[in-house]
């Protein structure tokens, strides 16, 4: 036990800076994932078939490529192509766009859960398609998908460890922990605290989503 606390005390700055990097990475990726995911979901349920197709291509591309491969393409690939992409940009874009594909699918299922009658009604009342989406469908869709979104965000927080472990080499929580481990060889203790660090983030996310769920879910 003594050693457990000793490692934390001695290397708190490293753990803290790693956690902060992971937090920023996850927060920025979440923003991108939500914005892009919503846009893609809208494409996928749009009334024009060619728009559906574009959304479908997006989802299948980003969902079917392993995150690690995406990271290598986004970072090394783009840099080899002559564009000096920043590691942060590459990491956030990869994780955000990857998660966006899943969020789009979750939102799409939410949209389909809203009765078609409501859409027909809104359109026949003279609302534009965009307005129908924004005012009628998406608010209800988001409600039904909050539990699914919660799982996706937790998965994204855990996936962020891949960004640090990849070529992109951001000094995230896992990387900081491995650095401490290489210094001290206290494998069990170091990764115990790394796990606690990730738990802090995932549990916080879970609580936020549970709160959202309680606030917005349609009571049945």
């Amino acid at each position: 036990m003594g050693e457990l606390w000793g490692v934390l005390e001695e290397h708190l700055p490293e753990f803290a800076s790693g956690l902060w990097v992971t937090f920023r990475l996850v927060a920025a990726s979440f923003l991108i994932a939500m914005v892009v995911g919503t846009a893609v979901a809208a494409l996928r349920v749009a009334p024009a078939r060619w728009l559906n197709r574009i959304g479908g291509v997006y989802v299948e591309t980003f969902r079917n490529v392993p995150l690690l491969v995406l990271l290598i393409i986004m970072f090394a690939g783009i840099r080899r192509g002559g564009i000096a992409i920043d590691p942060w940009v590459a990491g956030i874009a990869s994780l955000g766009l990857y998660t966006a594909a899943y969020i789009a699918e979750a939102l799409r299922s939410g949209v389909f859960a809203v009765g078609k009658g409501q859409i027909d009604a809104a359109l026949s009342l003279g609302l534009t398609y965009g307005r129908t989406m924004r005012r009628i469908v998406l608010p209800q869709a988001v409600r039904t998908v909050i539990p699914a979104l919660s799982s996706l965000v937790i998965a994204m927080i855990k996936n962020s460890a891949i960004v640090g472990a990849s070529l992109v080499a951001l000094p995230d929580l896992l990387k900081s922990a491995r650095q401490v481990q290489a210094d001290t060889f206290q494998t069990t203790e170091v990764f115990f605290w790394a796990a606690i660090g990730y738990l802090l983030l995932t549990v916080t996310a879970t609580l936020v989503f549970r709160h959202l769920e309680n606030t917005y879910t349609i009571k049945r």
Binding site: L167, R178, Q179, D183
Partner: protein
């Protein structure tokens, strides 16, 4: 008791199935390489079964952890499909003294000590600098090579001295001695730590880092692969390499030490050096076998 629940049997059967699947999968993946090169011509000695050497002879093969991405010490040559290099030559020699097949497994700076401790590999020959910190976890053989710390930059870079690393992005491997050394020598360097040295090469080629710092022999390997890079020749640290031996296994350590000594004495060291290092560097930079002892080496990287 003889009527233990049937699920236990089923669970064991399923576990066995998965284990055998996993083993077959392991047998064919790239992390291990059967060695088909001809065994060096050395006298084979028989050892009692209760020694590590005896156990290895019993098994008929010796698992050796080498690098797979660090020419000219340990690299998986895509043309021949073989692992080759200076470390690999020494490993082959030690296995030949036991009369067994060497099996080379990938062991990088970050995972080599855990692999040795958990028994996946019998010996580490992975460009590993002897340090007191590592000596707490494992034992070292007498030094078999002495590398020097150096810095690799793109030709024409502004970085010309160690001090210039401050404020620049510097790549090295996670778990290497340089993780600490660079922090001491250039505290304001923006350190990028990766798992493999080949990733450092990728990063410097794409201008994602400004310099790579590690052992000169590893960096020489990168210059051979990419002539637009250049070595500064700073030689700012001395890094004696030792073979990694399980902690406290004195008989095995004696055997490995003897092997290293014999390797040097019978001229195999020189031949391997010439093949992997000597021919690529100017004559005045070439070196002979190490004249430093393990005790002296440990003092270079104290706790």
């Amino acid at each position: 008791m003889e009527c233990k629940p049937r699920w236990l049997l089923i669970a064991i059967a399923v576990a066995t199935l998965f284990a055998s699947l996993a083993l077959t999968a392991c047998g064919s993946d790239d992390e291990e390489a059967e060695d088909s090169a001809e065994a060096p011509d050395v006298a084979v000695e028989e050892f009692p079964a209760d020694t590590t050497m005896g156990a290895i002879q019993e098994a008929g093969e010796m698992n050796i952890g080498v690098k797979f991405d660090v020419p000219p010490f340990g690299f998986n040559n895509p043309q021949s499909g073989e692992v080759e290099g200076f470390d690999v030559d020494l490993g082959r020699y030690i296995a030949a003294r036991l009369g067994v097949e060497p099996v080379f497994r990938e062991a990088n700076s970050d995972n080599r000590i855990p692999l040795l401790v958990d028994g996946t590999i019998d010996l580490i020959l992975s460009t590993m600098t002897i340090t007191e910190e590592r000596d707490l976890e494992i034992d070292f053989s007498e030094p078999y090579y002495v590398a020097n710390g150096d810095v690799l930059v793109p030709s024409g870079s502004d970085i010309q001295a160690l001090d210039d690393l401050n404020g620049n992005r510097v790549c090295t491997a996670l778990g290497s001695t340089y993780q600490e050394t660079i922090k001491e020598e250039a505290p304001d360097a923006d350190l990028r730590l990766v798992d493999l040295y080949s990733q450092c090469l990728e990063l410097i080629q794409t201008d994602a880092v400004d310099a790579v710092s590690t052992d000169n022999v590893i960096l020489t390997g990168m210059v051979i692969q990419d002539e637009t890079l250049e070595l500064l020749g700073l030689n700012y640290t001395e890094e004696p390499y030792g073979a990694g031996i399980p902690d406290g296994d004195t008989e095995f350590k004696e055997f490995v030490d003897e092997s290293v000594q014999q390797y040097i004495d019978d001229g195999t060291w020189e031949a391997s050096y010439e093949e992997w290092v000597g021919q690529y560097i100017p004559e005045d930079q070439q070196q002979g076998p190490p004249d430093i002892t393990l005790e002296e080496a440990l003092k270079l990287f104290p706790l």
